[in-house]
């Protein structure tokens, strides 16, 4: 993986090599000079690269740092020619070389590769690489990159850069970049500014709720305590600094809290879609369907199939990528529901009176399906690409909201509402509830219980299929995709109170949020273990779950 990634950079560089613009030509010349120069002259030349406005510079500097620039010694007293080495596509092949000055490929055999000598930048030069790249970024037309670079440079608190930033602020017109510049300058001012500058910076960082400036503020307080600061602070000024720190910290804990809740909700939403199907098959029908996880996998593979079909119909166009997902949602539901239907007819209908044995039989089915997936789709995981409208994110108040997370929450709400509507408001739901409570009585009332059970089971499996579509967007699709969710979703149903949809919703969201809240403290695995243990302890307190079913029967 690392190797492929490496190659990717080089081929990008190769593409750039063949394009020639005035900026690039100038950059190439300076770059060659820098390679051949020594000491502080080399450093100065590299620094001057930041004024070239050439997009080649970062790639060149990267390659130099990595050791891909070589010197071809010329005959006589002429200067050596710097070459760029590009790794071969296959392992064991011979690398190709390009002249740095004009990007021309060196014909094999025209020189002896063994005679090449690696060109090493001096240690001092290496240090200015990143700064050069960042300064260069300050002049890119991309607003976001420019703002990021401004902030990053400010955070360096380098008194050489500070004047440059102040200068830039005067010419900059984009408000978001000005804001970033202000923040960056303020952070730099904390270390290098006058007393007034420092006080202004403290105020500004507080007003801006600058998370990036927090470390600088803390450092300043530290220095003041140790008596290392340039200007001593009065009590009042110190209090202002402390207040500023406290204000930013409380802002951070607020954004953390909201972010955790959001991530927890989205995890809970996934769990909910998985568990809702289970709540229906297990909770309402009393059938422990261990193959429920495989129904999820069926849904995920259906998403993969619809992607493949769309690609073959419309070629790998943007249209196919953007629309296949809309098709995949109903398709996955229907395939999984069909599988559930078949499972119910062939196995489960004989086991309604033996719930523990339905567990064993469906586990057998789950083994068969898992191996079946491997035989059909291969043992390797399949990748499903997300449409672009699921990939982006929006940042509000320093909290990142991923579109896919927002989508899954919205979709979960829709599904819960739909299920509730089906169960509570339709004649079908009425017969379902009747059959669940007392199948004999329902049959006596003229309800076709076999048909109702069949439909209910297919519906529950279909919901699992929908969960599969979303899981395919989060990770890759494999034969044991469902296995990693099955234990958790059983716990969701049990903790929520079997047979209760509201309970399932609350417990899924509760478990999702708890999990996300514990993860930063304990790490993902320990967090998960704690959640499982917490559920076991919770059942001590409420053995029937949040909303226990109210049955008068004895056993």
């Amino acid at each position: 993986m690392l190797f492929r990634f490496h190659n990717l950079i080089i081929s990008a560089l190769f593409l750039l090599v063949s394009q020639l613009s005035a900026d690039d030509t100038q950059a190439r010349e300076i770059f060659v000079e820098a390679i051949l120069a020594e000491g502080s002259e080399q450093t100065a030349l590299v620094e001057s690269l930041s004024t070239t406005a050439s997009t080649l510079v970062p790639d060149f500097l990267e390659a130099w740092k990595r050791g891909d620039i070589f010197l071809l010694e010329a005959d006589g007293s002429a200067a050596p020619t710097p070459l760029l080495e590009v790794e071969p596509e296959q392992e064991g092949g011979t690398p190709t070389y390009f002249r740095v000055i004009d990007g021309e490929e060196m014909a094999a055999g025209s020189f002896d590769p063994a005679a090449l000598e690696m060109a090493r930048p001096s240690r001092k030069t290496r240090r200015v690489f990143t700064m050069t790249i960042d300064l260069l970024a300050l002049s890119t037309p991309n607003v976001q990159e420019r703002a990021d670079a401004a902030l990053k440079l400010g955070l360096k608190r380098d008194d050489d850069i500070l004047p440059k930033l102040i200068l830039l602020r005067e010419t900059e017109t984009e408000p978001s970049v000005i804001e970033a510049l202000n923040e960056g300058i303020a952070v730099s001012m904390l270390s290098h500014g006058t007393k007034e500058g420092q006080m202004d910076a403290i105020q500004l960082l507080r007003d801006e709720n600058s998370i990036a400036g927090l470390d600088a503020l803390k450092n300043l307080r530290h220095d003041l305590n140790d008596g290392l600061a340039t200007h001593p602070f009065s009590e009042e000024e110190l209090a202002k600094l402390t207040a500023s720190i406290a204000s930013i910290e409380s802002y951070i804990s607020w954004t953390d809290f909201v972010g955790t809740c959001f991530r927890g909700l989205s995890l809970g939403a996934v769990l909910l879609i998985v568990a809702l199907g289970l709540a229906i098959t297990f909770g309402l029908m009393g059938v422990i369907n261990m193959a429920h996880g495989e129904m999820i996998a069926v849904g995920a593979y259906s998403a993969y199939i619809s992607q493949t079909v769309f690609y073959s119909l419309f070629s790998e166009s943007t249209f196919a990528l953007e629309t296949y997902f809309l098709f995949a949602i109903p398709f996955s539901f229907l395939t999984a529901a069909l599988c559930g239907f078949i499972l119910e007819r062939t196995v489960i209908q004989f086991l309604y009176k033996r719930p523990l044995e339905s567990l064993l039989a469906t586990w057998g089915v789950s083994l068969i399906l898992q191996q079946g997936f491997r035989l059909i789709f291969g043992a390797a995981n399949r990748q499903v690409r997300s449409p672009s409208w699921l990939l982006g994110n929006v940042e509000i108040f320093d909290i990142t909201f991923g579109f896919n997370r927002i989508f899954v929450i919205g979709f979960a709400i829709l599904i819960v509402f739909g299920t509730w509507f089906l169960m509570a408001k339709t004649p079908m739901g009425l017969s379902i509830r009747a059959v669940m409570q007392d199948p004999q009585m329902a049959a006596a009332m003229g309800i076709r219980i076999n048909r109702v059970r069949m439909m209910t089971f297919a519906f529950g499996s279909g919901l699992a299929g929908l969960a599969g579509v979303f899981l395919s967007q989060i990770g890759s699709v494999g034969s044991n995709l469902g296995q990693s969710y099955i234990v958790d979703s059983f716990m969701v149903v049990v903790a929520g109170g079997v047979g209760n949809i509201v309970g399932t919703v609350i417990s899924a969201l509760g478990i999702g949020v708890t999990d996300q809240a514990l993860q930063p403290l304990l790490g993902p695995v320990m967090g998960r273990i704690c959640v499982l243990v917490a559920i076991i302890l919770f059942l001590q307190w409420k053995p029937g779950g949040l909303f226990p079913s109210k049955s008068r029967s004895l056993d």
Partner: protein, 376 residues
């Protein structure tokens, strides 16, 4: 003809199994001439030693599920805990013969430990380790069972939370920082009780011990089913409320049974580890514990020999089909479970009875038809 009672017949069965495992198999291994039909190779004997450990776990689960109605989907955890406890001793007995020539177990060197963690030190003692084999699964089962039974968690709920328990333990043992070797677990053992671990004589002795242990477990279960305790156990399965309202503390009974079953499985795990030479968190995966349930179901639940037959049959089938049909063995196994549950609710042991029933039913129908024909 003398009619034997159910108990007498099962006793005869146990004695026959004991004779076969404890006397006949080792004898055939030692004295059977090489290549003859009756000879059992060292490899075969070792394989059977493994099966016998599985059989004990199945017997322990049957004690819970078959006789008490408590379906535990975490029996593999207790098996693994026993295995880990003894495995720790075996790890320390490697001494400086490991790959890193260090006094510390290899994985600790690899993970950068400077010294043995405190909780490892007592495992240098064999007797402590053997006690741990009993107490670790016993205490885990005791605490968990106390909580679960006190809260009256039973049936499907009990099954699901025991599954969650083994899943949580599995995640925990996969962690390198948990000091039990992470996902590699323990392996590369050299000696057991001072004997070279993979020497045929050692493996033979381990087989013998496993066989004796299995027989002892079977006799224990046989005796238990005869006692009032055993009767109450089955009464709990059929009508727990009635038992409770008859003045029995069912919580205590269930807890005792759960702990005994856990210890039984733990010892099996301790015997298993030196025979296969490895223990890792894979054994705690929920699917492993489900497999144990299937052994019992295939063999015949609530029968004395059923779990043994089921465990040996399924594992033999597994070895056979992974070798001959590596792509399809999961499908074979899965289909077997489905078919057994659907068509053989009493398992292999119940099959003759089931066939007899079929025969009677069909003969009855046939006679009815004949009579109808005669009348006409």
């Amino acid at each position: 003809m003398i009619k034997f009672s159910e108990t007498q017949r099962s006793l005869a069965g146990i004695i026959a199994v004991t004779f076969f495992l404890v006397v006949a198999m080792p004898a055939l291994n030692l004295f059977g001439s090489e290549g003859s039909f009756l000879h059992i190779s060292d490899y075969q004997l070792n394989l059977w030693g493994k099966y016998l450990c599985y059989a004990v776990v199945a017997v322990s689960l049957n004690l819970l599920w078959g006789y008490t109605g408590l379906l535990c989907l975490g029996q593999g955890l207790f098996f693994a805990l026993g295995g880990y406890a003894f495995g720790m001793h075996l790890m320390l007995m490697i001494g400086e013969q490991g790959a890193y020539k260090s006094a510390l177990p290899d994985f600790m060197v690899f993970l950068g430990y400077k010294e043995l963690p405190a909780h490892w030190i007592p495992f240098k003692s064999l007797s402590f380790s053997l006690l741990a084999v009993l107490f670790v699964p016993g205490i885990v089962a005791g605490v968990f069972g106390f909580l679960a039974f006190r809260a009256r968690i039973k049936g499907v709920y009990f099954a699901i939370i025991t599954q969650a328990l083994t899943y949580a333990a599995c995640l925990l043992f996969f962690q390198n920082s948990f000091t039990f070797g992470g996902n590699n677990g323990f392996t590369d053992f050299k000696t057991v009780l001072g004997n070279e671990i993979f020497a045929p004589s050692t493996q033979r002795a381990l087989f013998f011990i496993s066989a004796v242990y299995l027989s002892l477990c079977l006799f224990l279960i046989w005796w238990l089913t005869k006692t009032k305790f055993g009767k109450i156990q089955r009464a709990i399965r059929d009508s727990e409320n009635r038992v409770r309202f008859s003045g029995y503390s069912t919580t205590t009974y269930k807890l005792i049974i759960f702990v005994v079953a856990a210890i039984m499985a733990g010892i099996a795990g301790a015997l298993y580890v030196p025979q296969v030479g490895i223990i890792n968190p894979e054994e705690m995966r929920p699917s492993k514990s489900l497999e144990i349930v299937v052994w019992v179901a295939v063999g015949g639940r609530a029968t004395i020999l059923g779990p043994v037959i089921g465990a040996i049959f399924v594992n033999w089938l597994k070895s056979y089909s992974t070798y001959h049909y590596p792509e399809y063995w999961l499908i074979i196994l899965g289909a077997l479970f489905v078919l057994v549950v659907l068509f053989m609710p009493n398992g292999i042991v119940g099959l003759p009875e089931q066939l007899k029933g079929f025969y009677r039913k069909h003969r009855f129908r046939f006679q009815q038809k004949k009579e109808a024909a005669a009348e006409a």
